[in-house]
């Protein structure tokens, strides 16, 4: 019996080639995208699940309310050791610190200078918690002694080639020399933690003299149970703070974050050394997108079935008079749908393999084809196949099979009205979804364009930032400045602790004679910084050009936000004493207008430049250069740099390039939404095309009669197209508010964003009307020019 159903299904596929192809193609595109997105989601969810103690490891989070509510992934160095001491459930705890508080390390191996992004100062317990597997040499115990270093397998290869790295020495930042004691297996792709090189945390000043101030240490704790009483532990954490700080001084609280939540639930937290955070919202968006596309594809299928319901109904009638029961017919329709979805599934799998490389590029991951054959994916496929079959097959199986034979065989009855109503409803749903996607693509694009063209309050172009962290002595730094100033291609040079897009120190600034504070970014910088960034000076002076070593006077150049917080007018502020934790002797020397020193996701905060006498906190040489060929400029600068500091790696970035990194996620989202929207619209169009063909076929007789009575071809085309246009108009009514709501929500993520303009909707509607006209129009014209004699001859 089932065999017979398959036979019918297969032959019906073959006879209705156009519709079968459209059906299967549409479904397979839907399934391919769903498959890819599921693969991506699976990968994101798999983060940190490979660790044996995954359920017992937690990261300590720091919550501060200084300015708004902020959560950091890093805590003071004093907390780590206290955890195991004061919390009975804590078995192990450990701290990690990226070299240079999140910068690169400069590694010298013999006479080779390399840049290492992932060098970490680490407590030995970290390696134990995360079961770091040693391939050779010793592991965690190496971190109990100074000047030992552990390398990952690939890093050891990079440094030493095929030689045995054990016992070899290398130097870091021209300061410390280390001996390689062990090689560990590379961290997997889906690990939040990723070290290339590990050095003992105990060597750091912060380990010898732990403080409760500087919160720069990512701290992990392992508990003895995977279902701890987090509330009790947080109370303990509070009592640790209480024991070490006066109530008035406390500017933070702690909490624990389970390891398995780190990857997806940390995108809102600042200050972390962990890279490749995912975003749970992105996952949710993509899931929604996948479901929408799949639904569109299923709707297509149902649409085509309803369009053929005349024939299907006749089949039901005939089979029932021949003795088929409703149950048998339900099964038959499901077999038919199941066969189609199975074919679409195979094709979809094939498509997804084809698209995978470009998909990887878009989502910035390295998903592999082989992972498509995992048990999860296969069971997902089976599940999707079942769900798709059940949804798509529901109309013929559950609705048509109920007809009594007499009803089903009657040439015209009200089942036609019912199905055409359903069909129209489905088209509306499908087009609404497409329009929402088109609007989304447009809004995302406009917002990105806005970001790229927004006046940031400074000029990020033609500024190169050269890292000088590996050059500790001030004399060499000065020599660098002088050397660069002499280059003809250079207009201005300054040393600075940081620059817009790179982090600086975070302090608090206080209102005069009050303890009301606000967090402030403080940047130790030289005179020229204002002109290099092309900031607008509102009042007062730049930082003075020269400053005597040991001079305790600190000049502070504040931005407008800081000024407004202090409550001065720009002119008033000049010469006023200011407390920004920069020493007692700090005075405002000038005011600059606000500039976006970080991403446009965040509103502008307080920012000051200062010239505290402490030397050596300059991390960068900022150089504004004249226009020229970029490659040549860079190699010219590298030579200048090497002349002065031959032992340091030339590490640089351009501020305008750095800015682009801020919006990578949005770019990614723009690309993903563009790709899938195009696919969704294609699928929807395929459906519409087939549907129009069916409608034209069904109305053949009517068209014939109308032509015989004098209707012109354009009139007929209009008649056929108008029906669809009406549906499209209804879908506008549904989709516009929906799209507005969704995209407006998305825009709220940006402190600086566009307003959604009506033109977006105008473009989306024009686009979909044009698409509709072309898909439907073809069929309409074909039907309209047909000879009426032919269409009237039948029956």
């Amino acid at each position: 019996m089932i065999k017979n159903y398959f036979k019918i299904a297969w032959r019906s596929l073959k006879t209705n080639r156009l519709f079968s192809v459209i059906n299967i193609f549409g479904l397979s595109i839907g399934l391919a995208t769903t498959l890819l997105l599921f693969l991506f989601i699976l990968h994101e969810r798999s983060f940190d699940t490979m660790y044996g103690h995954k359920d017992k490891i937690f990261r300590v989070l720091l919550h501060t309310t200084e300015e708004g509510i902020e959560t950091w992934g890093q805590v003071p160095s004093a907390l780590g050791p206290e955890l195991t001491e004061h919390i009975p459930n804590a078995v192990k705890s450990g701290r990690i610190l990226q070299n240079g508080y999140g910068g690169n390390a400069f590694i010298k191996v013999r006479d080779k200078v390399l840049t290492e992004r992932l060098l970490f100062w680490v407590d030995p317990s970290i390696l134990e918690m995360f079961d770091v597997k040693m391939l050779s040499g010793i592991g965690a115990e190496a971190l109990n002694k100074p000047n030992n270093i552990l390398l990952s397998e690939s890093t050891a290869k990079r440094y030493f080639g095929s030689e045995n790295p054990l016992g070899k020495t290398l130097s870091v930042d021209n300061r410390n020399t280390f001996e390689v004691k062990g090689v560990f297996e590379d961290f997997p792709d889906n690990s939040s933690l990723n070290f290339n090189a590990v050095v003992p945390f105990m060597m750091r000043q912060e380990a010898k003299h732990p403080s409760w101030g500087n919160a720069s240490f990512e701290t992990f704790v392992m508990l003895n149970s995977d279902k701890p009483n987090l509330g009790a532990i947080e109370n303990k954490l509070q009592s640790i703070i209480d024991a070490n700080m006066d109530k008035e001084q406390q500017w933070y609280t702690f909490s624990l974050q389970p390891l398995k939540e780190i990857h997806l639930n940390s995108s809102a937290y600042s200050d972390s050394y962990l890279e490749n955070y995912g975003d749970i919202r992105q996952i949710k968006n993509l899931t929604a997108l996948a479901i929408i596309i799949l639904i569109i594809a299923c709707i297509n299928y149902m649409n085509l079935i309803t369009a053929r319901s005349q024939k299907k109904a006749k089949d039901v009638g005939v089979n029932k008079t021949l003795g088929a029961s409703s149950k048998q017919l339900i099964l038959r329709f499901y077999v038919e749908t199941g066969l189609i979805t199975a074919i679409a599934m195979l094709l979809g799998g094939f498509f997804s393999i084809l698209i995978l490389p470009s998909f990887n590029k878009i989502v910035n991951r390295t998903l592999e084809v082989s992972s498509l054959f995992s048990l999860e994916i296969l069971s997902f496929l089976v599940l999707t196949w079942l769900v798709t079959t059940l949804i798509s097959g529901s109309y013929p199986a559950l609705y048509l099979s109920r007809f009594s034979p007499k009803e089903a065989l009657k040439p015209s009855s009200n089942k036609g009205i019912m199905t055409s109503f359903i069909r129209k409803g489905l088209v509306v749903v499908q087009f609404s979804a497409s329009v929402v996607l088109i609007v989304a693509v447009l809004v995302v694009r406009q917002q990105l364009e806005y970001i790229q063209n927004k006046n940031l309050g400074f000029n990020p172009e033609n500024v190169i930032a050269i890292s000088t962290t590996a050059i500790p002595d001030f004399a060499t730094n000065e020599a660098l400045v002088n050397a660069f100033e002499r280059r003809p291609n250079v207009s201005l040079v300054a040393m600075a602790q940081g620059f817009p897009t790179a982090s600086v120190s975070l302090n608090s600034i206080y209102k005069p004679n009050s303890d009301v504070g606000m967090s402030v970014n403080t940047n130790l910088a030289q005179h020229n910084i204002v002109d290099i960034l092309q900031l607008k000076l509102l009042a007062g002076q730049r930082l003075p050009e020269l400053k005597q070593n040991g001079d305790s006077l600190v000049e502070v150049l504040i931005n407008k936000t800081a000024l407004d917080f202090l409550g001065y007018t720009p002119e008033e502020a000049i010469g006023k004493k200011v407390d920004a934790q920069l020493g007692n002797n700090s005075y405002i020397c000038g005011v600059v207008d606000d500039f976006n020193f970080t991403s446009l996701h965040k509103p502008i905060g307080a920012y000051v430049f200062h010239n505290t006498a402490r030397k050596g906190n300059y991390n960068y040489l900022l150089v504004r250069f004249k226009n020229g060929v970029l490659m040549e400029t860079v190699s010219e600068f590298e030579n200048t740099f090497k002349d002065i500091a031959p032992n340091s790696a030339f590490e640089y970035s351009f501020i305008d390039k750095n800015l682009e990194f801020f919006y990578q996620k949005e770019k990614q989202m723009a690309n993903v939404s563009l790709l899938f929207s195009v696919l969704a619209v294609i699928v929807a169009c395929l459906g519409l095309f087939a549907l129009a063909a069916f409608m034209a076929e069904q109305r053949q007789k009517e068209i014939g009669v109308r032509k015989v009575f004098g209707a012109s071809v354009p009139k007929i085309v209009q008649l056929l197209s108008l029906d669809f246009m009406k549906l499209i108009l209804i879908s506008f009514v549904i989709s516009f508010p929906l799209a507005f709501y969704i995209m407006n929500n998305w825009l709220q993520d940006f402190a600086y964003h566009i307003n959604i303009r009506w033109s977006v909707f105008a473009i989306a509607s024009t686009l979909s009307l044009i698409i509709t006209f072309f898909t439907v129009g073809y069929q309409a014209i074909k039907a309209a020019v047909a000879n009426p004699i032919k269409s009237l001859r039948t029956e």
């Binding site: 019996m1 017979n4 036979k7 019918i8 032959r11 019906s12 006879t15 024939k311 006749k314 089949d315 009638g317 005939v318 089979n319 008079t321 021949l322 003795g323 088929a324 029961s325 048998q328 009594s404 034979p405 007499k406 065989l409």
Partner: protein
């Protein structure tokens, strides 16, 4: 002494069309005996098809009694009713209603599938039927490849394969030319001789002449 196959007593069929109650069949009384070949005649809209549908249990009388092989159809549940017609009744349609996706062989086989008859038995029965109707050579063709007369032949073969007692044929030759009509009617007469009871609805006097009895309908009444 002939046995009664079915008897209809005071049977009425009405439908609601808007607020009006329209009577399609009005107090119908008649019996069908074993061996009969009945022709229902009457103009369009006189109720021939409705009566056939009701007899075939695809439709129900709204009033009155209907007994089939001694069983009261009018008080039966849907399920038992369909069991009854599957067992004893074969249908032949004016528009043949063959299944487009199935070959001649498979079309004839279909009712057997629904009766859960074993494969070997099915093969034998279908082969018999093909033989008897002289369409062995066409068994692998699809309906669309056949002429109207041939399609109707397959339709009749399909109706007969379940070995029904009664064949209901609604204008079986309505779409055929006169030569094809004649052949189909000859076939019915032949089947009737072999013991199959036939009720056909027809417009054609000559077709009706093949029957053993003619019932004339007008406006839902037997006249």
């Amino acid at each position: 002494m002939k046995n009664t196959l079915l008897s209809i007593n005071e049977a009425t069929r009405t439908v609601n069309s808007g607020s009006n109650k329209v009577t399609l069949l009005d107090t119908i009384n008649f019996n069908v005996e074993e061996g009969e070949f009945i022709s229902l005649m009457g103009p369009s809209g006189s109720g021939k098809s409705t009566l056939l549908n009701c007899i075939g249990m695809l439709d129900n009388f709204t009033d009155g009694g209907y007994t089939f092989l001694g069983e009261p159809v009018h008080s039966m549940k849907e399920k038992n009713r369909s069991k009854l017609y599957k067992e004893y009744i074969g249908f032949v349609f004016q528009a043949y209603h063959l299944i487009d996706e199935l070959t001649v062989y498979e079309n004839i086989e279909t009712p057997l599938l629904y009766k859960n008859i074993k494969s070997s038995e099915r093969k034998a029965m279908v082969a018999d039927m093909l033989d008897r109707f002289n369409i062995v050579g066409k068994k692998d063709l699809f309906p669309i490849q056949l002429s109207g007369g041939q399609q109707q032949l397959v339709g009749i073969a399909r109706a007969l394969i379940g070995q029904p007692k009664l064949i209901l044929a609604d204008e079986p030759t309505g779409n055929l030319n006169s030569k094809q009509s004649e052949e189909i009617m000859e076939l019915f007469a032949q089947l009737n001789k072999e013991g199959v009871i036939i009720i056909q609805a027809t417009h054609s006097e000559s077709n009706a002449a093949y029957g053993s009895r003619i019932i004339n309908l007008l406006d839902g009444k037997i006249v």
